[in-house]
């Protein structure tokens, strides 16, 4: 058994990963996950802007996904075409999708010898796709949903390519660590945005459509319907998004996966570094697992989300310090 493990380690090139490479692979995965998350939010929000929601506003999303000056953001207002243009294609918006894809590709470019040729080409194609006139005109003059779908599909192609072609070595572990860490942050953030829109008041007499859209954005609506048979309650939504271990976007699931891929690094880590990270991830996991959140306790909920976020950021900072050699 032991011998097998050693053999595998050697075959995957274990122990030879440059800190810079690990850093780039980690960030490549984060940017791709962020891209995917954003595209889905945009798709759901766009559809809801066309749908029954009377006083739909893009402003919360704009404020959280744009680093442009406030007056510029306000001037975009509620013009869906302009909002999408800004969040998808605006180079001056540091958080735009095109900038995320460009950064993912730049990171991939710097580690081409550690990802497969297929993964690199997939990212490269993604970059050319979002720069293509076709997508941009589809968004401005055609059907924005089709444009967003095309982009989302290409993102899924990336995940499939990673899954099918990448060796299960160190690079693959960092890819997954980056992916699940980013996804946990995204889920916590999106929940926070929605709850802020509702002033953290979930005790409303009528059903809140915002929560349905939140589930759509996290690809969790179908699971919700199957589990709760159309009985729509804020409490159930919270339970699924925070705790459901079968829901791939729940905070608990993401932390579990993060820990799982992290543990695979043990043989390739300095013992001191491993201990530090193990502690931080373990604490974050347990803080989520052994919490009990009820929609009625809005202050507690707010505090809990903030704490979870800051623990996730601490994990990222610790990777940066202990594994990527940036202090």
């Amino acid at each position: 058994m032991r011998k097998n493990k050693l053999l595998n380690r050697k075959r995957s090139g274990g122990g030879y990963m440059l800190s810079r490479v690990a850093d780039s692979v980690f960030w490549m995965a984060r940017y791709m996950e962020r891209t995917n998350g954003m595209l889905r939010i945009l798709r759901t929000n766009y559809i809801s802007s066309q749908d029954e929601v009377k006083d739909f506003s893009w402003q919360p999303l704009l404020l959280s996904h744009s680093d442009a000056p406030a007056e510029e953001v306000t001037s975009i207002g509620n013009n869906s075409a302009k909002v999408l243009q800004h969040l998808l294609f605006e180079r001056n918006n540091g958080a735009s999708v095109i900038n995320n894809i460009t950064r993912a590709r730049e990171n991939a470019r710097a580690v081409q010898d550690h990802i497969t040729k297929e993964v690199w080409q997939c990212l490269n194609d993604y970059y050319h796709l979002i720069r293509s006139k076709h997508i941009q005109s589809q968004l401005q003059q055609g059907d924005p949903v089709s444009a967003l779908d095309a982009l989302i599909h290409h993102g899924m192609l990336y995940h499939g390519t990673v899954d099918i072609t990448m060796a299960r070595g160190e690079a693959f572990n960092y890819l997954n660590i980056g992916k699940f860490l980013e996804r946990a942050i995204l889920t916590a953030d999106m929940l926070n945005i929605k709850l802020t829109e509702l002033n953290y008041n979930l005790q409303q007499p009528k059903e809140v459509p915002a929560l349905r859209y939140l589930l759509y954005s996290l690809s969790g609506y179908e699971l919700y319907l199957k589990t709760h048979r159309g009985n729509f309650q804020a409490d159930h939504v919270l339970q699924q998004i925070l705790y459901n271990n079968n829901f791939p976007h729940s905070v608990a699931y993401c932390l579990g996966q993060l820990f799982r891929y992290f543990q695979r690094l043990e043989t390739e880590s300095l013992p001191e570094s491993y201990k530090q990270l193990e502690f931080l991830i373990g604490r974050a996991m347990n803080n989520v697992r052994y919490s009990s959140i009820r929609p009625s306790e809005s202050e507690h909920l707010k505090e809990f989300l903030q704490q979870t976020r800051s623990e996730l950021f601490n994990i990222a900072a610790a990777f940066n310090q202990y594994y990527f050699g940036n202090s």
Binding site: G15, Y16, R20, A110, D113, Q121, N124
Partner: protein
Amino acid sequence: MEGHPLLGNYHNQPRVWDEMFDAAGIRPAYQQFVSSIQDLSVDEMTHKDELAKKLFMSQGITFTVYSSGEGIEKIFPFDIVPRILEAAEWKHIEAGIKQRLKALNIFLKDIYNQQFIINDGIVPAKLIYSCPNFVRQMVNVNVPFDIYTHISGIDLIRDHDGTYYVLEDNLRTPSGVSYMLENRSITYRIFPDLLPKNNVRSVKDYPDLLLKNLVALANRQKSDPTVVLLTPGIYNSAYFEHTTLARLMGIELVEGSDLVVDNHRVYMKTTTGLKQVDVIYRRVDDDFIDPLVFRPDSMLGVPGIYGAYRTGHVAIVNAMGNGVADDKAVYAFVPDMIRYYLNEEPILKNVPTYQLADPDNRKLVFKNMDQMVIKRTNESGGYGMLIGSAATEKEMKAFRVAIEEDPRSFIAQPIISLSSAPCYINGVLQPRRVDLRPYALYGPEGIDIVPGGLTRVALKEGSLVVNSSQGGGSKDTWVLASPNPSAGGA
């Protein structure tokens, strides 16, 4: 040939050797290829041309030009019509390059050690010591197996009678070999079956041969020494090549900041701490490789790496200081080196070269400036060059002044016309000037030259400058395994 949509309008130029046509028709090397494509319509050819461009783009075989903000993605222009060499031609080239490299390698060893060639009066001492690329730090440094020129890319050109001349030896960090490999991988996509039908020799061994040589240089007694490729980083125009080679050899691609030197040993920073490095294939120039010894403002190199090299704890490929043999004034002595060190007559010719440090040469060159190419001795990439036949009075005057000020830094050569090869441009086959750069690998077991190379094309009509930095493109280069079977019959 008349009536074929593609070949009908192809015109040879006077006093230019064409690779595909001679006065009687199609040369034997091209006959099989031409018979396969001559009936293709313009649409089909254009479709192939577009497919090739698309493949280059989607595979990321591009270089990025950073001017402002986001870079512009460019592909190195590729012409779909291959350049074809017959087996006998290749044999001649191969023998010539091997001979030349042997002599140049001994020259480097000699010039950095005992300097017999200077003492025997073959090469003037002044010429060597005035060369800015003579690296004094390399004097009396022992390099593994006495090999300096592990990788070289020799530029060959052909005059109007078809004679091959060596134009440059490129013994420092020649680039372009990834295009030799990628061009081939595009060719089999756009011309299915043509490679086996023509019996074209494969170039895919290059990375294996290179890795074998690199591993052999390691000094530590270890079965799997650590070999890395040192790149200046993603902003370098050859970055694509660096990643391709690292991937094909399965070695680590490192940047200067990934390496540290401690106690004359080189280490790379990994997630598990420091790992010793045994062999470095560097794509960083001498000037930038060690800020402690060379340019102090360099951010691309590794402080202390020269010391590790000198003490033999790390092997660096190519050796430092090879630039002295690339100097265009020293180049003029290569035929003498071959005679002196090997006691053989040169197989490949040098282009006649006038050193302008000599007043008689200067007078002669100034009188016939319109028939000369004048080059700076230490420039490459088509920079610092004046082609007399195309220069204005003003440009010539500027060069005259510069030469008078510093004659050592200039040489002059008669204009060699460069052979032409058919290129598919704007839906028509048109002749364009080409050169040929085969890549030679010098290892402890001898010299290997992969059958093929990079054919560079001057895409501008009438231009003689093939460098990629000056608007040049490239072609796939086929070396045929045996005389073309259809040669006799057609």
